[in-house]
Symmetry: C2
Subunit: 532 residues, 2 copies
Amino acid sequence: MRRLALNKAKQLLRPLCSSLLTTPIAASDLLSSSSPFCSSSSPSTAMSSTKTAPVSVDNINPKVVKCEYAVRGEIVILAQRLQQELQEKPGAHPFDEILYCNIGNPQSLGQQPITFFREVLALCDHPALLDKDQTHGLFSSDAIDRAWKILDVMPGRATGAYSHSQGIKGLRDLIAAGIAARDGFPANGDDIFLTDGASPAVHMMMQLLLRSEKDGILCPIPQYPLYSASIALHGGTLVPYYLNEETGWGLEISELKKQLDDARSKGVTVRALVVINPGNPTGQVLGEENQREIVEFCKAEGLVLLADEVYQENIYVEDKKFHSFKKVARSMGYGEEDVALVSFQSVSKGYYGECGKRGGYMELTGFAPEVREHIYKIASVNLCSNISGQILASLVMNPPQQGDESYESYVDERDGILSSLARRAKILEEAFNGMDGVSCNKAEGAMYLFPRLRLPRRAIEAAAAANTMPDTLYARRLLHATGIVLVPGSGFGQVPGTYHVRCTILPQEDKIPAIVSRLKDFHAAFMAEFRD
Amino acid sequence: MRRLALNKAKQLLRPLCSSLLTTPIAASDLLSSSSPFCSSSSPSTAMSSTKTAPVSVDNINPKVVKCEYAVRGEIVILAQRLQQELQEKPGAHPFDEILYCNIGNPQSLGQQPITFFREVLALCDHPALLDKDQTHGLFSSDAIDRAWKILDVMPGRATGAYSHSQGIKGLRDLIAAGIAARDGFPANGDDIFLTDGASPAVHMMMQLLLRSEKDGILCPIPQYPLYSASIALHGGTLVPYYLNEETGWGLEISELKKQLDDARSKGVTVRALVVINPGNPTGQVLGEENQREIVEFCKAEGLVLLADEVYQENIYVEDKKFHSFKKVARSMGYGEEDVALVSFQSVSKGYYGECGKRGGYMELTGFAPEVREHIYKIASVNLCSNISGQILASLVMNPPQQGDESYESYVDERDGILSSLARRAKILEEAFNGMDGVSCNKAEGAMYLFPRLRLPRRAIEAAAAANTMPDTLYARRLLHATGIVLVPGSGFGQVPGTYHVRCTILPQEDKIPAIVSRLKDFHAAFMAEFRD
């Protein structure tokens, strides 16, 4: 039984270490330079590719083959198929609709956008509206003012032009002002790189830092699989550190140190530490003292701190507050020369949840100018991020202020969403904790619960027989029975022998009771079926 | 003298072959698997990174260091500095403004967006407008209809939600319908991958195809440097084929075959052929018979055909027409099993020029389903492209039709832009051809001229003394003297010993006479200064 669990655990972790199997090493010494373009080698391979299929799974980049992204993986593809079947043949399944609890995509589940933000976007998309009298009847006055202000910082007021590859300078300055107001420490628009959501920013940093599989990135386990996917695609090594489920997914410096030393003893050069705060998929919010220890650790060990702070507005408990790592570092007296820090932010999360707009940024501090030039160059190869996303990033960092016409409705919309999310988190957490063999930490922040499932031995055996993970078996069965889409914990990584699922807290409140009831019924039936 | 030219030529080509110096090879045999995460190796390297700076140019990914992107390179960075100086101190330079002729960014130079497209975007950004009476006074009726139609194909009408990672199915179907109408052959929405502009689509294909520096991509020289940059970043080899400047940048199959055989004899597996049609930076438009030969070549040699067709609407001569490679292949009777074909399209070019919206797509045909799944997976790691860009891509492939309220104003706007571009291309071409030692092929299409400069020996020596390329020296001097920003030909690649600059045809018509006059005066002075 222990042996079986260990084998399973290895399988569960395989997505995270896939990059090891095939990652490249720098091999300049293998190359001669007889041609300016083509490397020379044995001519015996010449013409070998002529007769094979141009593209097959056997001849594509193995890093691509090995990369995994569970948030849109097997279970979601199955869900899309079931949805198609429901449309074509209503009644084909024992549910009326698919409930996508797999991904932090609030507006797909009915959350409404913040009106002020959308007013400004519409005016910037079609600035001709600003010259027309009727516009004042349709838009709030501060949205009109803001649109003018934004257009004024855009060269030629051209919302359809490529911008500076870091983003429009005036918008970056607005974002820096928002960061400074949030943190109480100065921020500089030149440190901001606007991106199409946070994901491309993460890729950019991985591309910069990873030279070969001998370069490693410390990542939390469980982690958001963007990190494992990006490390795999860029040919590096994921160095795991485990969050402590017993202490509410606590991040322990002793564990960081242990894993760092272990990696180094194996010849891995650890380049950076990823911290997700508030946590995804765990929902934990770091305490300020803990953050200080993390900053100290990065400084002492010479690691870049990659701070995923996209859930900074999503905090649901009274006794926790979001502190940016930059604020923490500055409050410790540490400046540019002490610690290299990247903070990722996105318009997709928070109360705004504007996932489809693909806006986001990273704030880079503590990097040498010549390194920044290379980061700029990578950004410039893709020209720039989308301007609507850039505008929206400036808006979420500078929402309406007291005295603005939109202020009260903005506050109502924002607080309505956040307090509802807090209620939903609590109801779902209690529901999971009420199930046989399930324990679930509180979602202090972010948009997810990550309950642990203590599955019967026979369920684990059934999964092995079906050549799948026990939590994947659970999620697949749940989907077939209820239409609810969760992500198996194996997609995020978990302590070997433990099983989890990730569930968003995003379904609208009026749907939560039915979801809870379906989850409970399914769980009871599943446990009964596999009872030892 | 010949030797000097050769050395210069090697330098000019270096950006294109940089990937060779440092590219990785698959090295799974070097790895042991004692840990699921970290590769083992000599412990002597342990802790070695602790005391070095976390990030410096010496320890970042060498592929990033070597990658070059001239369109936003040295000259543009200098231009941004001069612009800053002009703002801070008017009169600091012998010109009033910087004229960015370096990049195909029409709206940055005053081109106005197509009204209908912007109306639809604004309505989709703020759908609450659709419920209000005043909206009918501000928007055309077909824009309102189109917005409804688009919202109806979006799950939950949620323009702020992540979409399917290929893009919203209903929009992909609309794009496929537009392609079918353009080509007269069927197209399928499932073959469309919507992306944030065409660049990420190109990266995706390079990431898929390139396993190591032993994989090559045939690229035209001169080429749009996205290709050399992307190949360098993904660790492959650029296999050049030269366009024939004498025949109006003709693409000759004999040259393709020669370079392919040469690469293969050196052990390079050539995976794909890039064709840019209409050409960037050359402006040539391929004849249909030539395209048939290219398709035949790819089929015979087992190459993926990567067709950059982003300038498909930009044709300025009566005797040339755009034919998509898919249409050409289908008209030859070739289907899915015969040739693997990717067509890239963008909302940034054409008469629309919506660069800042970052919309685009690739249409993939002839790829096995299991390969497509991996392409989908790469797309899914970034979740989806921005929804406004997706909507705009559906609009440019389905503009207003006869009978629609907007039709006439749309046609006026479109034809006004295209005919003006044709006039500007002709005036600038004639201006270049009127200069001493300059010859310039016609811009049949796209947005650029790529004149050849026959520079005096002393200018070439002066460049060598200043450790730069002769065409870079020319472009830098031009910028300092006139504020006009061109891109040196060395950024695109050119036949060794030849020198070019790329100049867009995008400045507004009323500015063209002054530009021509400044170009001519500068050129005469430059030639006089360096006369032998």
